[in-house]
Symmetry: D2
Subunit: 346 residues, 4 copies
């Protein structure tokens, strides 16, 4: 019973097959291979964005930080939620890649930045003079770090503010598939049609081994991006193996099927939490459950070997009820979910 | 009537004389000159710290950011107040010099970080794993950005927490002289005796043209620091002119005299604010007054050409009362202070 | 017939099998999984270095640049051959990761740095003062970019010089397997017994998909290295897939078998070049042939679709003879080699 | 007798007067003061460049490195002479500020880059692919590090090549005044009329305390430059004191008068060297003499306390003749020059 993270599970068999299928023979390296071309085309198709520039990276931190560096010039201010992955979980990568961008964090319920908060922050940022730096970009996560989603109109409201301030909107989509599954929207509606300029389209948490796609909907924003990837060691010589993973996911709707399943398991867990007298800290809109559970339920679950993080305070072991985070993945066994629910019920 | 900042005023005549006095003849460059040696010795004496390593820089941002880079390793978390100069007013310099340190900001009344808040932040930082980065240093400002001061025991409490977490304590002392004048303490009591590891000892706001001293009380912390200064363009070839400014200030107690005068002017302004029906947003403990003044008083002051910043919201022009910041310097005319008070009174 | 690079070919079947074999179930992420532990142990065994710290990365550029950042402090000078991969083929990654290290390039026949040249460079570097920066590390490539190898005594001579100057010796071993196959030496003899402090042990060119191991023989040199990896986006959440590749290669001597085969193919190509009236630009000691071939042979090869780089001048298309580079891999077909030789012969 | 460097001498009295003259009263900080405006205007006039953007910095390393960062994007290659100050004497500052630019060094007699060499380097750089990085800028020094100058037609030839490759031409003009004095050319002829895009116009070696001006002849190239200055700690709060120095130098032709005197002293030293049986290593075209002198002359000079560097090998103390560098400044006493010549003659 591992609900620690969706990256605790492995790769979908179709992803592994794709690696084997493209393995034979010699191709040119560094992305000049036919698998890369097909994967890029497939993602452009998926997003109905024939002009988009697609690039691959192996980790979400790399994808996000590279985009931050690309979009944030010297002295830039990057606006994000205070619980954003780029702020809390990337060890300063955005600051490192961008050579010193300032991450300006915004509060917001359920992991979402509000338009009012962003408007005020951009307004202050515009008046900060040289000392304060300059507005550079806005970054949101969809699905958020609290398992909630931004609907297209919410994205659009933030995009309008960003664009009004002359800066682009980035979406950290490490769990973009889960958001899409939750919203039932076309990828285009969640992104460029709502004003998104750049997306990190996550593969790893969705069933890849290690693969993410960076999508620049405005090709002009991608100028020189390849040099950043190479200079930071993120260009694979045998790039077919990176591209093949993403190609497998976006083929035949696999990415969405996997997310639908993961989301459903999270909903089922939420039912179990409530049935056991627990509570939800945020609506369950993707593949994560933020909940409080009775201390007794927590003890039973731990005793049975269930793995999950306390959240948001990872040291709240002694509280009652206990705040926890449960994350499901494409490969989480149904039996684990049911067993865990039974443990909660006691 | 300029109360915008203490850097609006020029250099003390003794500082200018010192430049002229050391101008003649040829000396070796890059710090290998006798004025530099004397200035370093004088600062070591002032701090009763015969082993301290002293280095000069021309700007406070450079001094602070160089220390951040020196003390914060890859993936480092730097704890500071949310209104700290390094967070709000250095355009990302600490992140740039340190190649991506994460500034973790703490709330705290009147510009001061509390021991409780710091303890909790360090505890969480220690448990953040690879993704969260590692505790790297604690930075406080004395006098603070709200014009208040940390007494030695308050500094010591924070230093103990920092050291308990295995990290050093840095003091941004852009207005260290004002704090010393306010506290009436020996510099040593405010720094190394209270556990401070590195101090940026400000000269510019105290009456220099452009000079700051970095003081490493533990020489081991200064290893290789000169290469950082040079690599960032902060080593003057004719360094005597940087050293001479600091030497002039620390000679015959000039630094303290200038700060005492600036502080007194601020206290006088505070009296005027209160007499005019205004209020104080923070106790006046150095050379800055954070106050609210009636809108009418604000209009009269502006109409008479008084210069000062609205604070903390620089755009709060239409509020009543109006929140403002008034900063005095060694060279602010008494007549300006009295004229301003008269304007407030209406 | 692709002799462009050893990274033109795919992954060995055993590597793909290893991925599938470790795919099932949930494990903790970021390296806290059993495959990572086994891979690290296997590499320590291979190098007879029970204390060594082993870390994985997906690209050789990342591995090299991370080590440069780890070992080169502010203002550091990194000594390497003028044709070193870190100088010519990593797009400034060492400078980027190290925040401005200066790569000081040394000439040397057949891709090798000589002890005399290094001694002189270190001597000058030691006398450069603040402006010149400080000696930080020495980096050699084994096998070199010219397909030659350093024997253990040659490595030891350079290591002695580096250590005499107080700096460590790094080996870029993107083709370490090919060097080991060529020398018939134990990995320990080529590395720590000869004074090597850190090795980038290449997997990608040896038959992995995308995997390299960084080996710090002195654990003290690895302090904090994980934060660098994470901050630069090079920590895989599903790290088992990185580790499994290296584990497959070092199991049952596969890494060496693959290199022996690649080397043998290169030797066979060299025979063909000489038989066709061509010449060798460097001794063939690993899996690359640097040669000149008659213009007619070049035309025949190109017409038949053979792929290889002109070298060192990639635009020397019109010269006669034509300088070329041929690289063989673990998976280069024998038939391609023979067909190419036949084309050369005319 | 100090011929170590032109920065061994102090500031011209007119520079010190200018500091005192602008000291009184309060002005706005960070460059929004009237002295800065006048200094910028005066430099635009001097260069007949009404659209140029002028910015100040305190050190030549800062000025050069900021321009490198401004003009070299990620993965950039900066072409310079192998003896360029940015390569040999700035401790990696260009790499640090630019976050990893690769300095590609070119040989060339007498400190000058030749058009042929540059053309070939740019051609190779354009064909380097992702791994090699991209052509970013060309940087020359005028006067050069060997005391020679580039005439306008030589500058133009290099500028044409740079522009043909799509990159700008930067001039490190730490001794631009000495070059202008030597050539007798208008500053405009030496710069934008010859195709120069950005100039670091040195004040420090010319008689300032610590002041340089960055001149962007194409304002578009200066976009966002102020944020770089601030983020690297190079914006003075009391910037009037930086601007006043440059204003003093460019007023009434002082900059040129000072350089003419320094150059004349160097010519006189060269005569003395030749008369004493020494030789010149490069033509004396500015304020530096690169010469060999008989070992006996060297011993006499040292015994008399003369200070100068051995050059290019700073440790060639035991050779005969001895290679040396002599640098003169605006303030070098005539009597020192004559005394030194007498020592050489024996």
């Amino acid at each position: 019973m591992n609900f620690a993270s969706d990256n605790a599970y492995g790769a979908h068999p179709a992803v592994l097959r794709a690696l084997a299928d493209c393995n034979a023979g010699a191709v040119m390296g560094y992305g000049a291979d036919p698998v890369t071309a097909r994967a890029e085309a497939a993602i452009r198709d998926l997003f109905e964005a024939p002009e988009a520039v697609i690039r691959f990276a192996a980790t979400g931190t790399a994808a996000n930080a590279l985009v931050c560096a690309q979009l944030s010039p010297a002295g830039g201010r990057i606006y994000c939620h205070q619980d954003a992955h780029i702020q809390t979980s990337e060890c300063g990568a955005p600051e490192f890649f961008s050579h010193g961008a300032k991450l300006v964090t915004l509060a917001g319920a359920e992991g979402r930045m509000t338009a009012d908060t962003l408007a005020e922050a951009l307004r202050r940022g515009a008046g900060g003079g040289l000392n304060g730096g300059r507005n550079a970009m806005v970054s949101i996560t969809n699905a958020t770090e609290w398992g909630t989603v931004y609907a297209p109109d919410q994205v659009a409201a933030l995009a309008d503010l960003a664009h009004g301030a002359g800066v682009p909107l980035h979406v950290d989509g490490a769990r973009f598939a889960n958001a899409a599954a939750s919203l039932g929207c076309a990828p285009a509606d969640m992104t460029w049609r709502a004003g998104v300029d750049a997306l990190c389209f996550g593969g790893t948490k969705n069933g890849a081994m290690a693969a993410e796609a960076v999508v620049f909907f405005d090709p002009a924003l991608a100028a020189g991006f390849d040099f950043r990837r190479k200079q930071s060691g993120h260009v694979f010589s045998k790039q077919r193996f990176l591209a093949a993973q993403m190609l497998a996911l976006v083929s035949d709707g696999l990415w969405l099927d996997l997310a639908i399943r993961a989301n459903a398991l999270a909903s089922r867990l939420a039912e179990g939490v409530l049935a056991a007298g627990g509570g939800l800290l945020a609506p369950v809109q993707s593949n994560a459950v933020f909940a409080t559970i009775p201390a007794g339920a927590h003890r039973r679950a731990r005793a049975a070997g269930a793995i999950y993080h306390l959240w948001p305070d990872k040291s709240a072991e002694a509280s009652d009820p206990v705040p926890i985070r449960l994350v499901t993945s494409w490969d989480t066994p149904d039996t684990d979910v049911e067993a865990f629910i039974a443990l909660l019920a006691g």
